[in-house]
């Protein structure tokens, strides 16, 4: 068998390093899910601030969202990891990863949520006011529940995006799947095989997550809330 084809024999390496790879995978899942949850909460608050806040608050939320979305995630991680220590803020790579991905994801989720808030029609506000609801009651009981429904597809997409993009934590050395891969490769020098394994693991988890999420979305669908997918 040629050397070229032999490079695709990866089962051996996969089995030998299964434990290390799974450790990385667990961290990847943790990072993605935690960032997703806190990013969603912060993102919804940002969207509310932008749509319903005072002029100053709205401007601040907009600035945050646009700046985060306009700069690379890696630059944001670097600022947290390298630029803060001179000011006495020393965060571990793991903390930076959780913080960075949460802050980043929040901006994107805020943007999706804002889109959904704007999709809630004027008639819904009028109807709420006509029942005697205050502005806040209207937002909490009428606008937000609908906006959240519209946002679900974007949010689930965001989870898949996070599963992939958390690999960037590799650059600052947080122990995710890719970092573990590098660790293995730097010992056995089988770069192609190891990274191929890592790529395949990502392929499997991303496709599986997409399928699972599709099923869940179908289950919780409410009539009248058609889904549009956001891409990032």
């Amino acid at each position: 068998m040629s050397e070229f084809l032999r490079q695709f024999m990866i089962v051996d390496i996969f089995v030998t390093n299964f434990g290390t790879l799974m450790q990385g995978l667990v961290f990847t899942f943790e990072l993605a899910i935690v960032s997703m949850v806190f990013g969603t909460i912060f993102g919804v608050l940002l969207a509310l601030g932008r749509s319903f806040g005072t002029r100053l608050l709205s401007w601040l939320c907009t600035a945050y969202i646009e700046i985060i979305r306009g700069t690379p995630l890696l630059a944001q991680l670097f600022i947290l990891y390298f630029a803060l220590p001179p000011y006495g803020i020393r965060l571990s790579a793991i903390t930076v990863a959780f913080l960075g991905f949460t802050l980043n994801s929040a901006a994107y989720q805020a943007e999706y949520t804002r889109g959904s808030i704007e999709a809630v029609g004027e008639d819904q506000y009028m109807a709420a006011y006509s029942l005697g609801m205050s502005s806040w009651q209207t937002i909490i009981y009428v606008v937000l529940p609908q906006a959240i429904r519209w946002s679900i597809p974007a949010w689930t997409n965001e989870l898949i995006y996070l599963l992939k993009s958390t690999s960037i934590a590799y650059v600052i050395g947080a122990p995710d799947l890719l970092t573990q891969g590098k660790f293995i490769a730097s010992r056995n020098y089988q770069f192609f095989r190891v990274y191929l394994i890592v790529a395949l693991i990502y392929l499997v988890i991303v496709l599986a997550a997409a399928r699972l999420i599709g099923k869940i979305e179908k289950k919780i669908e409410i009539p009248g809330f058609g889904y549009t997918k956001n891409q990032r």
Binding site: D123, Q124, S130, M133, R149, I222, G224
Partner: protein, 250 residues
């Protein structure tokens, strides 16, 4: 009970930019009365109704609901609870079932316990002829059903006054009847109602008075018999003729 009208509107004015939409509207509505407002589109009928609920803020004039002035009152939400509003485009909350739509005002605004609210909502849905659709979402209802849910939602709040803003104009012709029947029953049970509508059959049989508005002014107001048989103003005559051409005698 004093002889004070339930609703008194005094010299109401509103302009949007250069366009004068309401130009000095005044009229009274007594308890138990039903008045129907007619007039060409874009002549301020909707704005008038919205003003009464302060969904639009008038530039000038006064609106009295009993002893409370609405235009400048402090707590508008308390007023709105006493006024039922039925929209042309239904205004049902899309994320809630029919039952939940009727309940939300009771539980969140009036803070009525859930169990009580549930009972009341069932009762109101039943009253507008909609039992068995409690758990459907607005997207699953016909236009006529949606509008009846909207009416039930308004009624559940125990309003002193019901405002109807062209409640049947977004409906397919065959669905208009079921909504009008509910409104007629309501009028006969002595609900105080102000209705913007061009359903002349309804106006004729139910209303105490018809108010014809054009260019933000009341051109003529009269009981239906007088209005249909012998209108004073030539503009009224012309408009009613056009209506009967468009909609038939109703």
């Amino acid at each position: 009970m004093s002889d004070k009208p339930l609703l008194r509107i005094i010299n109401l004015k509103k302009r949007f930019g250069d366009k004068v939409v309401l130009d000095g509207i005044s009229f009274d509505l007594n308890k138990g009365e039903t008045k129907v407002i007619i007039g060409p589109s874009g002549t301020g009928k909707s704005t008038l109704l919205k003003s009464i609920n302060r969904l639009v803020v008038p530039d000038e004039g006064e609106i009295w609901l009993g002893d409370t002035e609405i235009v400048r009152c402090k707590n508008i939400n308390a007023i709105r609870q006493q006024i039922g509003y039925v929209f042309q485009d239904f205004g049902l909350f899309n994320h809630l079932t029919a039952l939940e739509n009727v309940m939300i005002g009771l539980t969140k605004v009036k803070k009525i316990p859930k169990k009580e609210a549930l009972e009341r909502a069932r009762y109101e849905l039943n009253r507008v002829g909609l039992s068995g659709i409690e758990d459907l979402y607005p997207a699953q209802l016909s236009g006529g059903q949606k509008q009846r849910v909207a009416i039930a939602r308004a009624l559940a709040m125990d309003p002193k006054l019901m405002l109807f803003d062209e409640p049947t104009s977004a409906l397919d012709p065959e669905l208009i009847g079921e909504v009008l029947a509910v409104m007629q029953e309501l009028a006969e049970s002595n609900m105080t109602m102000l209705v913007v509508s061009h359903e002349m059959g309804f106006a004729r049989s139910v209303s105490d008075e018809i108010i014809f508005i054009e260019d933000g002014k009341i051109v003529e107001q009269a009981p239906p018999e007088k209005m249909f048989k012998d209108p004073e103003n030539p503009r009224t005559r012309e408009f009613l003729f056009k209506l009967s051409e468009l909609y038939g005698e109703g």
